[in-house]
């Protein structure tokens, strides 16, 4: 059976991975895109979450906030995942063996699961609470959970750079 370790060891030795890892500018450009897309992705996701919590845009229907901001959030997420995948590809084993990376991936799965569950459950009944200044409990919970998870993801992402410094 192929272990993840062996798989990522092989991936890290592919020519493109080595090229990206050793590039002078490409890696830094990808890293910059990854960090700055935060403003678009988490920024718009945060405004949606804050609306779900009933603390902003209280007079705007939730469905309109979702319809108009989710495309931006989604595009930001796509850019985030693409640039993130490239950063992983540049040094697969280093990322795989980083405890903060693992924490970040776990939190990311939970965040996506949370968004999916929200869509499948309470958002199905949006007609009942679309114009409520403060949405129902279940929606507020989804918004709060989302905010907490993105905070964890940002923190873990930042801390990835310090693993060697702290535990090396």
């Amino acid at each position: 059976m192929v272990s993840l370790f062996r798989l990522f060891e092989w991936l890290g030795n592919t020519p493109w991975s080595v090229a990206l890892h050793e590039s002078r500018y490409a890696f830094l450009v990808v890293l910059t895109v990854h960090v700055l897309t935060l403003a678009v992705f988490v920024g718009t996701a945060m405004m949606i979450d804050l609306r779900l919590l009933g603390v902003t845009m209280r007079r705007v229907p939730v469905s309109e906030v979702m319809e108009r901001l989710v495309p931006w959030s989604g595009a930001g997420l796509l850019l985030m995942l693409t640039s993130g995948a490239l950063l992983f590809y540049a040094a697969p084993l280093v990322r795989y063996q980083n405890i903060f990376f693992r924490l970040k991936m776990a939190a990311l799965v939970l965040a996506l699961l949370n968004a999916w569950l929200f869509r499948r459950t309470v958002y199905r009944r949006i007609a009942d609470w679309d114009r409520d200044p403060v949405p129902p409990r279940q929606a507020r919970l989804a918004g709060a959970l989302s905010l907490v998870l993105w905070v964890i993801i940002i923190t873990a992402g930042r801390m990835m750079a310090y693993q060697d410094y702290w535990f090396g």
Binding site: T32, L36, G43, T56, I154, R158, Y162
Partner: protein, 158 residues
Amino acid sequence: MSLLEFCRWVQYSSPLIAMRASPWVFPVIATIHLMGLAMIGGAVLLVDLRLLGLGLQRQPVALLARDAERWLVRGLLVMVSTGVLLFMCFATKYYYLTFFWVKMAALAAVVAFTFSVRRRIVLAGETQVNPASGRIVALVSLALWTIVAVGGRYIGFP
């Protein structure tokens, strides 16, 4: 005292030496700084996308702007307070980086622009403002914030 001497004095003052000695203070402050980025990003985009015709078009700009301004101010407070601390940790390094000064100039410009021209336009209401000027305001705002953000990433490289 010259500016460089001041930077040196700040960086090597005892509280800052103590801060740098801690392995986690700088990373934690840098993390909070990033969350400020997300807050400002959300608050700025909410209004600028609306001005560009790509946001919540059924809502009056002024309504969104009043809501967003609260989060923009909070984001700015987070960003500036953590930013000052990050600067003080390595003041002499930033002193020599041209991009740091570009970032500061763009920041000063965008804050001044946001709370004067942009504020007047977005709070005026649709009837008094022609859409073209709204679009120009949004583009200027986004361009300046982009310089600030890219500059922030750029000066962080060792």
